[in-house]
């Protein structure tokens, strides 16, 4: 027996024949009998179900009813939170003092609470959650309380996700992308967000641990739905150019270097008021020395994380941070950091794979178009 934690769906993963691997202190399914390639393709074409219960879920509330919790949390993240409407969610970054990134996270504003308090629902990465929660508690000590939720989190992703979930919950079909709603199915209280990390339309559903297997089986009963492991989750997010914390972004990369300035609102860029703001403002004025870019290796050989990137004149100019095979793209894909002068799309570079220089090009991301929900007008 391993000492790793298990999510509420662990027994179901085993029952489904999953191959289990340790990940961020949890025993998680890396793939099911369908295999990474099949699971990846199934998610792009139908609907994939992912156990993401290892991620951290928490509710942040102000201690004083008159404190604007969105304004307070803006002191730790650079996203525009004050303008968030009830149930609206945003991708943001927990910033370090030096301008680096402690974690990336989803923040949803929840205004309509019976006690009159406004709250923020946070979803953070599994590997960072303890440090994140400690950091938030320490920084907002006395002004806010963080309630850590021990609940399951299930993602349903893919072009058929909406159709499938709407068979049980008709209202979710027209939910805007990046919004959250509280709803009920039989005796199950569900917190449904229209979001995900595969580039596809889909949802993340937070549910009590003891009801998670029942709910998951309900979804898996549909022909369109297959259980999908962490292996395909990684190739899906890489194809659409999304960062994986601890690989593509970390405390040593800034949002400006990582190409995540879109997550920093205009007002926040000007006003600052978050950790590392001075560095970010300086980088916006003076530019950055390196940038995260997409990389397309020529030929079939994948270039994995830590592969060194060289200029055509033989100088080391950077490193791959995520790389592998893109099943939908149909070839090897990667992202990494290169010196800014080599960051233009189309720049020819060499990748040092197993001691051999292999040609590659800086390429536009995403490698596969994102397919998020847009309401029909």
């Amino acid at each position: 027996m391993s000492d790793n934690l298990k999510t509420a769906l662990y027994d179901l993963h085993v029952e489904l024949g999953a191959k289990i691997v340790p990940f961020a202190g949890y025993d998680m399914p890396v793939q099911y009998p369908l295999g990474v390639l099949g699971e990846h393709n199934h998610t792009r074409q139908n609907a994939g179900l992912f156990d993401v219960s290892h991620m951290g879920q928490a509710i942040l509330s102000a201690t004083d009813k008159n404190t604007n919790i969105a304004e307070l949390f803006e002191t730790l993240v650079p996203g525009l939170l004050i303008s968030l409407q009830d149930g609206q969610m945003r991708y943001s970054l927990l910033m370090a003092e030096g301008g680096g990134i402690l974690d990336d996270l989803m923040i949803t504003r929840i205004s309509n609470n019976a006690d009159g308090f406004e709250r923020l629902f946070l979803v953070v990465n599994a590997g960072c959650k303890h440090a994140d929660f400690q950091h938030i508690n320490q920084k907002l000590n006395g002004q806010a309380t963080l309630e850590i939720l021990d609940r399951a989190l299930i993602a349903l992703q893919g072009p058929k996700a909406a159709e499938v979930l709407a068979r049980h919950l008709p209202d979710v079909a027209t939910m805007p992308f990046m919004s959250l709603t509280h709803t009920k199915l039989n005796d199950m209280n569900l917190v449904v967000s229209r979001c995900g990390y595969t580039g596809e339309d889909g949802y993340e559903i937070s549910i009590a641990n003891h009801q998670a297997i029942e709910f998951t089986k309900l979804l898996l009963a549909h022909d369109e739905v297959e259980a999908i492991g962490l292996g395909a989750r990684d190739s899906l997010r890489l194809e659409v150019g999304l960062c994986l914390y601890g690989h593509d972004i970390d405390t040593k990369t800034t949002p400006a270097e990582a190409g995540l300035m879109w997550a920093i609102g205009k007002r926040r860029r000007e006003e600052g008021g978050f950790p590392g703001a001075d560095i970010i403002q300086q980088q916006l004025t003076n530019g950055v020395f390196r940038k995260r870019v997409g990389i397309l290796p020529e030929g079939r050989a994948p270039a994995r994380e830590h592969t060194e990137i060289y200029s055509k004149s033989g100088n080391k100019i950077g490193e791959i941070t995520s790389g592998g095979f893109g099943p939908t793209f149909g070839g090897p894909i990667a992202m990494g950091y290169v010196a800014t002068e080599f960051a233009d799309i189309g720049t020819e570079v060499d990748l040092m794979v197993r001691g051999k220089a292999r040609p590659a090009k800086v390429a536009k991301m995403p490698f596969v178009p994102q397919n998020y929900y847009k309401p029909k007008s």
Partner: protein, 122 residues
């Protein structure tokens, strides 16, 4: 033909002085979907235990070592455009290379099919 396997899940199938080298069916199952195989040049001379190929699945890259010394006389070029052939028949159509053996005693100490089957069942 005599079948021999290593503990690293490579095989050497011997016919006369020619060894066909590849990864076992068990190995391909563990690797998952193979997306790339890097093969040596024909004419390469290798020692027993040398790295002679790399097989990449969706998940990771793994080195493949030769269980016998000799000269590479043929590579399975089908794998260049259709690496998934390894998954379709690791011990048949998905072979990697053929080697002209220099030292027939190299196969001593390798597992035969029955021993290998017992080894992977452990």
């Amino acid at each position: 033909m005599s079948k021999h396997y290593t503990e690293d899940h490579e095989y050497a199938f011997i016919e006369g002085d020619i060894a066909t080298i590849g990864v076992s069916n068990h190995a391909q199952d563990q690797l998952g979907d193979v997306v790339f195989v890097e093969l040596p040049e024909v004419g390469k001379v290798c020692e027993k235990g040398d790295e002679i190929a790399v097989v990449e699945s969706v998940k990771a890259a793994s080195e493949v070592y030769t269980a016998v010394a000799g000269e590479v006389i043929e590579v399975n070029s089908v794998l260049e455009d259709a690496p998934q052939t390894v998954n379709e028949g690791a011990e048949t159509v998905g072979w990697f290379i053929k080697i002209k053996i220099t030292n027939p005693s190299d196969v001593e100490g390798l597992m035969d099919e029955a021993a290998y089957t017992a080894f992977v069942a452990e």
